[in-house]
């Protein structure tokens, strides 16, 4: 673990107050994001801890009054890509594995989903089934769905967090949802949901 002392130049008490006031309230959201990315509780905890230490180390580059949560999520995402992505665990349930296998190609292409899926079917599904379908998505798609649907970041904020153009945010999100619907429709059919 690297030391976090080099880059903090603001007074100690200010840095601590800023950290506790602006960053700590987002710990639940950060942990949840890390857990969705890594698929492993221990890795998620390490990822959040590393992210917090990095955030503290570079606290001088944070502008108070700007959106701390987006800043933290960007650090967490970079941390995940650099250090954790290779060892992240696969989906827990085999039923959705075909999603990974069947996905390939340009994300800017129009999504091909014409899934026969209805709101009632989604409402009937168990929580674990929804979670498994999300976890089976390729990580870039899983990431954008969590950022948008769970954390409610705007397209502009997601573009900054993910370092991609806003047009790519739109197309990736659209495609992620299409794959998720296809996956849920196939699963619902196999399990005899209406």
């Amino acid at each position: 673990m690297e030391t976090s002392t080099q880059s903090v130049s603001m007074p100690r008490s200010n840095a601590q107050v800023l950290f506790e006031k602006e960053f700590m309230p987002h710990l639940d959201a950060m942990y949840n994001f890390a857990l969705r990315l890594t698929n492993d509780e221990d890795d998620a905890q390490d990822l959040v801890q590393d992210t917090c230490m990095k955030a503290f180390r570079f606290i001088d580059s944070f502008e108070p009054g700007t959106y701390a949560k987006a800043w933290l999520f960007r650090i967490l995402k970079n941390n995940f890509i650099n250090d954790y992505r290779k060892k992240s665990r696969g989906p827990a349930k085999v039923e959705f594995e075909w999603v990974e296998q069947s996905f390939s190609g340009d994300e800017d292409q129009e999504p091909a989903s014409h899934a026969d899926l209805h709101a009632e079917t989604v409402n009937e599904m168990l929580g674990d089934e929804i979670t498994a379908a999300i976890q089976a998505l390729p990580v870039d798609f899983r990431m954008i769905i969590i950022l948008c649907d769970l954390e409610e970041f705007s397209y502009e904020e997601m573009a900054r967090i993910l370092d991609i153009p806003i047009g790519t945010v739109r197309s990736r999100l659209h495609r992620a949802r299409a794959i998720l619907k296809d996956s849920l429709a196939a699963y619902a059919k196999s399990k005899g949901y209406h």
């Binding site: 100690r12 700590m24 710990l27 949840n32 959040v48 503290f56 649907d149 705007s154």
Partner: protein, 90 residues
């Protein structure tokens, strides 16, 4: 009530932008007025809302208390280190 929608791909994109709060008020008003006359748009809107709701209620986890305590303890150590090291170099 229309049983088919000739603009379904565009309508689906608009539905998602509305649910994501990225559509303009004019776009949203126009869609909501049209939705009452178009079954696929109505069903598409309900499906997207259900998906959003299902994700929100099933994909949340709370940070373990032990992690919270570990981060605070680590931060405390870092701050102590800073308070010891900085005077040595100033």
């Amino acid at each position: 009530m229309k049983k088919t929608c000739t603009h379904q791909p565009d309508c689906l994109k608009l539905i998602q932008r509305i649910i994501d709060r990225e559509a303009t008020p004019e776009e949203e008003a126009a869609f909501l007025a049209n939705k009452e006359q178009c079954l696929p748009c109505q069903e598409g809107y309900e499906l997207e809302q259900s998906l959003r709701k299902a994700i929100k209620s099933n994909c949340s986890s709370k940070c373990p208390e032990t992690l919270f305590a570990r981060i605070k303890a680590k931060l405390f150590v870092v701050l102590i280190l800073i308070s010891i090291l900085i005077p040595l170099f100033c």
